[in-house]
């Protein structure tokens, strides 16, 4: 079956611009996660959605970052007024609630010039 998909695969933007990253989880997966991997760093948790519950935003690095999940499926991560330190690969993962195993998309490589 189809895995997690993300778009765009690459995004180059200028400092100060806003960007939107999209994630389509595996059909039927109620849990959705955003992580990012900065250059030379491990993956760090950003935000978690589970069904209709309020998201866990504890990993968002600043208030310039926000995310939403519409209809319990597609999610959009928005970064406002991008900074060079936002350059990273942004990864989305989904899982069946409570299963423990998260399946990742291919990521979006964001470069802020």
């Amino acid at each position: 079956g189809a895995g997690v998909s993300q778009s765009p695969s690459n995004k180059v933007t200028e400092k100060g611009k806003d960007v939107e990253l999209r994630c389509d989880p595996i059909s039927g997966h109620t849990a959705l996660y955003w992580y990012r991997q900065s250059l030379g760093q491990g993956l760090e948790f950003l935000i978690y959605f589970q069904g209709n519950s309020a998201p866990d935003k504890s990993g968002l690095p600043s208030d310039r970052f926000s995310a939403e999940r519409t209809g319990g499926s597609v999610s959009t991560l928005t970064i406002q007024r991008t900074q060079q330190e936002d350059s990273a690969v942004y990864l989305c993962a989904s899982s069946l609630a409570g299963s423990g195993t998260q399946y990742f998309g291919p990521g979006t490589r964001l470069t802020v010039l």
């Binding site: 996660y33 992580y35 491990g42 993956l43 948790f45 589970q50 409570g98 423990g100 998260q102 291919p106």
Partner: protein, 113 residues
């Protein structure tokens, strides 16, 4: 405060031999552990997992061992194949709640012919 550590940034193994990748954690609340494999420009691919109630889990060429008292886990790959060359990430979570993954920094495994 790095809760999951992979102290070897790289490892080289001859084809056909055993590859052993190590991971240490500090948070005793972690009760579910996963290994992911990552190729360049792709998202992490789930390999194998283990619950804290077990000390070993095997799937084909891959075996994960968990030593809770030492807060240590390892991934054994035998026999190693050229296609196993990739970056391997250890990850840990608390199974109750948001199941946010905490990742190690990764170990780059190279299988030499």
């Amino acid at each position: 405060d790095q809760q999951v550590k992979q102290n070897s940034p790289s490892l080289s193994v001859q084809e056909g031999r055993i590859s052993i990748l190590n991971c240490d954690y500090t948070n005793s609340m972690f009760d579910y552990f996963l290994w992911y494999k990552k190729y360049p420009a792709e998202g992490p691919t789930f390999l194998i997992s283990i619950s804290s109630i077990k000390d070993k889990n095997e799937d084909g060429r891959f075996t994960v061992f968990l030593n809770k008292s030492a807060k240590h886990l390892s991934l054994h790959i035998v026999p190693s194949q050229p296609g196993d060359s990739a970056v391997y990430f250890c990850a840990a979570m608390i199974i109750q709640g948001a199941q946010k993954l905490v990742f190690g920094q990764g170990t780059r495994l190279t299988i030499n012919p």
